[in-house]
């Protein structure tokens, strides 16, 4: 008992001395727990499906022998614990199973698909941050203290409208307008830089609008601070006033929101990839869901879940670095 409390006390001292490392450790533990949940979820998926997944995949008129063979191939005839152990050891060796439809290894599919998804998701996130920050800051400067109420109305209405635009509907609209109508961009597929434009635009537009609104509100808060009045009293050039005195103080709050937008953006790739037939994880997931190709669905769900968790983790670490005080406060 005393040893236990001794240990706790020692840990508390350590935590006080190294707030940043302690913060990282805590987040790493949280990540590990969440990853375990995703692993269990993806494993359980194939067992929770009502009926026989193999039968569903192969069709009602598939020969019973073929079904049994596939069941054996997937290890579905073994005890559950043995299956889970097998699933985990397979994952450890990079074995994600075999597609029921094509018979190809899922790991191979993933190797070609994942980079494409990460490419559009990362680009879309980058565009979101790069556009929303200046837009929100400029809007805040123009509308601070209740100036230009008409501009404020236009900004609020425009961002509200864009926020309400679903990414896959926007994707369809962009295809119809810019690809089919004006023939500016390729309609579908991943063929070079020009084919990136429409998927990235479809993914980024709504999050940009959300973030720009948040950035404006955060910037308005900072603009009302006493230290901004101090800076104004120094009569600094506008660029220095806003970039040096205002921008850094609204960064953490805005980036927290940006981080929260990231998972939804990654989920959005599933639908947007389907519209543009983008060769990524999302479109593979969409196809395999319809085809009842459960090993592929399982692997893609696992990968998307992991990507979301890792992205969250990285955003948290970045925020902890940018604002050490909030890191310490949170503990």
């Amino acid at each position: 008992m005393t040893g236990m409390s001794d240990m706790t006390a020692r840990l508390a001292v350590l935590a006080r001395r190294h707030p940043w490392s302690t913060f990282c450790c805590r987040r790493a533990v949280r990540l590990t727990v969440s990853l375990c949940a995703v692993l269990t979820g993806s494993f359980a998926m194939i067992h929770l499906i009502p009926g026989d997944p193999v039968r569903a995949a192969l069709g009602i008129d598939a020969a019973p022998g073929l079904v049994a063979a596939r069941r054996h191939q997937l290890g579905l005839d073994q005890p559950l614990v043995a299956q889970f152990r097998h699933y985990l050891s397979g994952l450890a060796h990079g074995d994600l199973g075999v597609s029921l439809v094509t018979g190809l290894p899922v790991a191979e599919l993933l190797r070609t698909r994942l980079p494409a998804t990460l490419e559009i998701a990362a680009l879309a996130f980058l565009c979101t941050v790069l556009v929303a920050f200046p837009a929100g800051l400029l809007a805040a400067i123009r509308t601070r203290d209740g100036r230009h109420p008409r501009s404020e109305l236009v900004f609020t209405a425009a961002t509200a409208a864009l926020t309400g635009l679903p990414d896959f509907v926007l994707a369809a609209g962009l295809t119809a307008g810019l690809a089919v109508g004006l023939e500016l961009f390729p309609i579908a597929g991943g063929t070079g830089a020009r084919s990136l434009v429409l998927p990235v635009l479809a993914l980024a537009l709504a999050p940009t609008a959300v973030l720009a609104r948040i950035v404006r509100v955060e910037a308005l808060k900072v603009l009302a601070e006493d230290y901004v009045r101090t800076a104004r009293a120094k009569r600094l050039p506008a660029v220095v006033l806003y970039l040096r005195h205002v921008a850094p103080n609204m960064l953490v709050g805005s980036l927290t929101i940006a981080g929260n937008l990231l998972p939804a953006l990654i989920a959005g790739t599933v639908l947007v990839e389907k519209v543009f037939a983008w060769p990524g994880v999302g479109s593979a997931l969409a196809q395999s869901v319809v085809a009842h190709d459960y090993p592929v669905v399982q692997a893609m769900a696992l990968v998307l879940g992991t990507v979301v968790l890792v992205a969250n983790f990285l955003v948290d670490l970045l925020l902890g670095l940018l604002d050490p005080r909030s890191t310490i406060r949170e503990m």
């Binding site: 009502p50 679903p166 119809a176 006493d226 101090t230």
Partner: protein, 637 residues
């Protein structure tokens, strides 16, 4: 700080309840959706189902505005008919998710510590995943179909509602009122129904409205993926998916259901916006003053170059929803080099707005006007904006009340100290830093090198105020305006700051306008004192005479309410009954008259001018008090 200077906007209730254009639009859009959901299948239902194999996969025509599908059914009719199913499914999923989430989340408000933490981390875990992804996972489990999709989406939205409820309920759970309810022994479910839920209903309603929009989009997405509504049923998502397959030939069959989804999503978005605005209206911005700017300068008075600041008839007007308020109503003041002048008065007397007006830092709603305003001997009305900015930045230094918030938390002290000198005096980085080290030594701050590298949160309150003063001194100003510079500091540090200001005046003949409500401090530090009340200067006298010779009843009351000055310890400290006048509707008479113990008929009718009593003593009062308060005199002798 600025906000506290401004009058509060009135609460929503005091305004007539008129729907904003946005609210009207939101209601109209919601009404149209409701109409389509109810009447759509009745009016267009049969057209949507009518097969016409002679007209399959047609483009838009007069008979079929959006075209036909692969069985020749009219797509326009199908999009309109699908309104009902799309909306019903979205609302069902939202309500299911909301009810489950609220129950789950409010459990945490009534259960004890350990289970609360456990439920909290469970919600945290689920929240890490976007709702759409969770919904897809469960949609695969439940199998493709409308019911499965609705359940999956409901599950996906549980964590969000649970978290919101947890946050809101935690706020309620911490109130005294919940503690009292627990003491009274109310049972848990009763606590939940009677006390927690009614207190969190408004934000939950807002969130449910917005969630309904997201649910509609997500369900359309599931149907679009083939996981939602299955043929022969159809919703907008499924129609979009079918339209997309032929988008190369005909864009409209994909665009029409897409527009329907966008329209419905926007409707919910707008409804949410209107609800949120109604909740937040009390924080609304203030309207601006129409056409209030500096008055044109009157014929230039003879140059009095021995003044660092000379202002005549300064007024400040602020626009409020109830009309234009005049917190500063025409004051004149002048400072000579090396002079320390005190400006005292209660909060709300207009002292701080006077300071901000002199430094041209008034908030947007406020406008200053004056007859003359000469800074360092130059009329500011004749200066170009650039020259004026430079003059204000270098000739005048501001020290604000709260050093904790007046320094930028994310910038190093070195940057904040040097930037004005680098911008306006053209100093190089190294020259500016060298001067910063000297200035920090001058304000008695040790180890300047370490200080220049640190950030404000690493300093104490007194150190921060010294840094603020040093920042002002960097441009070698001739005038310092210090607005309550010691109010936020403890008494020992107060004295140090006062000593510092004295030292600066001695060394560089810098004039100081010292604004404070602390009469004792002002009497100690200043050469002259201006007493401000209701936006006017009511008395002006040498600081040495303040304790004994004040003639205005208000000044006398101030002095008697200060423990350090009213030497007669046997008498109870005096408080001034009543409130300062409303700057929105100042009366014609003396502003102090309603609270004055010595008021007579004339006081309420006519405003007393400042009349000269000799030896630098002027007072605005029809019936000044006798030259000295006997009890103070007695105590002093």
């Amino acid at each position: 700080m600025t906000a506290s200077l401004l009058p509060r906007a009135p609460r929503v209730g005091s305004r007539p309840a008129v729907l904003s254009p946005m609210a009207v639009l939101a209601v109209a859009m919601a009404g149209s959706l409701l109409f389509l959901a109810v009447a759509g299948p009745v009016i267009w239902g049969s057209a949507a189902e009518r097969l016409d194999l002679s007209a399959v996969l047609q483009g838009p025509s007069a008979a079929h505005p959006v075209g036909t599908d692969n069985l020749g059914r009219d797509l326009f009719a199908r999009v309109l008919t699908a309104t009902r199913l799309s909306l019903v499914l979205a609302l069902a999923a939202t309500l299911l998710g909301a009810v489950a989430g609220v129950v789950f989340g409010s459990l945490t408000a009534v259960v004890g510590g350990r289970s609360r933490r456990l439920l909290g981390s469970l919600v945290n875990l689920l929240l890490a995943f976007p709702g759409l992804l969770v919904a897809m996972f469960f949609a695969v489990l439940f199998g493709a179909g409308a019911v499965g999709a609705v359940l999956a989406l409901a599950i996906g939205s549980i964590p969000g509602f649970a978290r919101l409820t947890q946050t809101l309920a935690a706020r309620v759970a911490d109130t005294d009122f919940m503690a009292a309810a627990r003491v009274l022994g109310l049972r848990r479910h009763r606590l939940l129904w009677r006390h927690v839920l009614p207190n969190i209903a408004e934000p939950l309603l807002l969130n449910t409205t917005i969630s309904a929009g997201s649910a509609l989009v997500a369900l359309s997405g599931l149907s679009f993926l083939g996981l939602g509504v299955q043929a022969p049923g159809y919703d907008w998502g499924q129609l979009l998916s079918q339209g997309l397959d032929r988008i190369y030939a005909e864009p409209l069959p994909a665009i029409a259901p897409g527009l329907a989804i966008v329209y419905a999503a926007l409707t919910f978005q707008l409804l949410g916006e209107v609800l949120a605005q109604a909740a937040a209206r009390r924080h609304g911005g203030l309207p601006r003053v129409p056409g209030q700017t500096a008055r044109p300068a009157s014929p230039v008075p003879p140059a009095t170059d021995d003044h660092v600041l000379e202002v005549e008839d300064l007024t400040v007007a602020i626009a409020t929803p109830d009309g234009v308020s005049h917190p500063v109503r025409g004051i004149s003041l002048a400072l000579r080099p090396g002079e320390i002048v005190g400006l005292v008065g209660e909060s709300g007397s207009g002292k701080s707005l006077t300071a901000l007006a002199l430094a041209d830092l008034l908030p947007e709603q406020a406008r200053a006007a004056w007859r003359t305003n000469r800074l360092l001997g130059t009329d500011v009305d004749t200066m170009t904006p650039g020259a004026r900015d430079r003059q204000l930045a270098t000739g005048l230094a501001m020290v604000f009340q709260n050093p904790a918030s007046a320094l930028n938390p994310s910038l190093r002290i070195g940057t904040q100290l040097t930037e004005a000198a680098r911008t306006h005096l053209g100093l190089s980085r190294s020259d500016a830093l060298a001067q910063a080290r000297l200035t920090l030594t001058r304000v008695a701050l040790p180890s300047p090198d370490r200080l220049l590298r640190s950030r404000p949160h690493q300093l104490s309150g007194g150190q921060r105020q010294r840094v603020m003063i040093a920042t002002g001194l960097m441009t070698r100003p001739r005038l310092i305006i210090a607005d309550e510079p010691t109010t936020a500091l403890d008494v020992r540090v107060q004295r140090q700051i006062v000593e510092l200001l004295r030292g600066i005046r001695r060394e560089a003949a810098t004039a100081v306008l010292f604004i404070s409500h602390d009469v004792a401090l002002v009497a100690d530090l200043c050469d002259r004192v201006l007493v401000m009340y209701g936006g006017l200067i009511v008395e002006c006298l040498p600081a040495a005479h303040l304790a004994t010779d004040a003639r205005h009843p208000y000044t006398r009351a101030l002095v008697e309410s200060a423990p350090d000055l009213s030497a007669d310890r046997d008498r109870p400290l005096r408080t001034i009954d009543g409130l300062p006048p409303d700057p929105l509707s100042p009366g014609p008479g003396c502003p102090f008259q309603p609270r004055c113990t010595n008021r007579q008929a004339r006081c309420a009718e006519e405003h007393p001018p400042l009349s000269d009593l000799g030896v630098g003593h002027r007072v605005a009062c029809w019936h000044p008090m006798p030259p000295a308060a006997p009890h103070i005199k007695a105590a002093l002798t």
